[in-house]
Amino acid sequence: MADLSYPDNLRYTKDHEWARKDGDDLVIGITAFAQSQLGDVVYVDLPDVGKALRAGDDFGVVESTKAVSELLSPVSGEVTGRNDPLVDTPEAVNEDPYGKGWMIKVKPSDPGAFDALMDAAAYAAFVAEQG
């Protein structure tokens, strides 16, 4: 299992997704805390490229042996890419949540949306409050 770290170059949501800048796009996944809460991830369902998302919309699901969890988009925008290898290697979400476990790329409709999300310190404090 990955350490419960929250890299400084990412931004975070209260729904435990992270976003990273990649040119004009944002790469999105779930946090180390989220995967540790879910347990062994065995199934990931992701949206088609081109799909329009609004912030807070569910864009897919991640399932562990025990639980189903909706994936909620941190920002509004259009899906520009998805991590298809996750279909066969969902365990990457546990092993490398900020790397090989990424889920989708989104072109945000508001370029400022990224900066409006929580930074690592704020998210770590939020997680600590959740106990």
Binding site: M1, G39, D45, V61, E63, T65, V68, V87, N94
Partner: protein, 362 residues
């Protein structure tokens, strides 16, 4: 109401168990991870805290007969030192609970009940049992450990003077484990060989440590409820509240083998005889998904787009690497090879009935 804790609560915390509320008990859902624990049980051994289970005892003259009137199976068919799986039914033939009855003698029967049902069961038995023998809820007096897996018996033998190979499947013996008085029952809920160990609550933590120490070289790991659930599902062992409840009968659940209609009487017998004569209208079947997805408890079963049944349990099978599930379906869809759809988040996903258990040990 705050969840109850077993005598192993501190042990679970110390071992890094992720604690959840299960049936009113604070128990670990996992330690290292469900899949790793599941595989350890299939390949080596796992240790479970099942102290939340209830223990109810009939003791005294007429104990066997009084218990036999309440259960579907027949205690006259087994010897002292043997156990049977049985249904405790209501008058409609639905399950009050599914239980294991341990026959110590015709004057002493111990009933192991599901944690979520133990109090209800005891009240039900009190209300319906023939007067005479003493009926006691001993749940507070017992802790229970389960050691399961191909290496379980060898590991346990290191701590036991009793010759464990002499205790056959669904037999039990009173004895000592690491010097502590226990009941050693060759039963389980995983589809593997192994033992369930009834011990005094104060002995549970030292016994846990002794078993972990004895088993570590053989690959034994502590296991949580997550692995217990996926293991039992692969073995098609019913989970009360999911696969069976007070509205489902043993005949519908594929548990006809625990129903002995040749017994003079037991609660629910008339309802089961009627159901058998009329034909069972729905059956619990095992299925796999033909398309991507994971079936879960409560998902609708569709035939020609119409809801005709419901999924009762489902998971991604760690052993098979396939999505598996159990569902109640109309009898005409219940034979192996039949196809239907499971509705997952609004979308029909193709499923096929397969032979069960999904996993059978060699």
């Amino acid at each position: 109401m705050a969840p109850r804790r077993t005598p192993l609560y501190d042990t679970h915390v110390r071992y890094g168990g992720k604690l959840v509320d299960f049936a009113g008990w604070e128990l670990p859902v996992q330690y290292e991870g469900v899949i790793a624990e599941h595989k350890a049980v299939r390949e080596a051994a796992g240790l479970f805290d099942v102290s939340h289970m209830g223990e109810i005892v009939f003791e005294g003259e007429g104990a066997l007969g009084a218990c036999n009137e309440l259960i579907t199976n027949d205690l006259n068919h087994i010897a002292d030192g043997q156990a049977i799986y049985a249904g405790l039914l209501n008058e409609r033939g639905g399950f009050v609970d599914d239980v294991i009855c341990y026959r110590f003698s015709p004057t002493k029967i111990l009933i192991c009940a599901n944690a979520s049902n133990a109090e209800k069961d005891f009240a039900w038995m009190k209300a319906h049992a023939k007067k005479g023998p003493d009926l006691r809820d001993e749940s507070e007096s017992w802790a229970q450990l389960a050691i399961q897996g191909p290496k379980a018996v060898g590991i346990l033998q290191k701590l036991a003077k009793t010759e464990l190979s002499a205790i056959a499947f669904f037999h039990f013996a009173e004895g000592e484990l690491d010097g502590k008085p226990v009941i050693l029952a060759r039963t389980g809920y995983t589809g593997e060989d192994g033992f369930e160990i009834f011990c005094r609550p104060d002995d549970a933590a030292p016994l846990w440590e002794a078993i972990v120490a004895a088993g570590k070289p053989d690959g034994l790991v502590p296991c949580g409820l997550g692995a217990r659930d996926s293991l039992r599902l692969e073995a098609k062992l019913a989970l009360y509240g999911n696969d069976i409840d007070d509205e489902t009968t043993p005949l519908e659940a594929g548990l006809g083998w625990i129903v002995k209609l040749d017994k003079p009487s037991f609660i629910g017998k008339a309802a089961l005889e009627k159901q058998k004569a009329e034909g069972v209208k729905r059956k619990l079947v095992g299925f796999t998904l033909v398309e991507r997805g994971i079936p879960r408890h409560g998902y609708p079963v569709l035939a020609d787009g119409e809801p005709v049944g419901v999924v009762t349990s489902g998971t991604m099978s760690p052993t098979l690497g396939q999505p598996i599930g159990l569902a109640y379906v109309p009898t005409d869809l219940a034979s192996v090879g039949s196809t239907f759809a499971v509705e997952i988040r609004g979308k029909p996903v193709a499923a096929q009935v397969v032979k069960t258990p999904f996993y059978k040990r060699k």
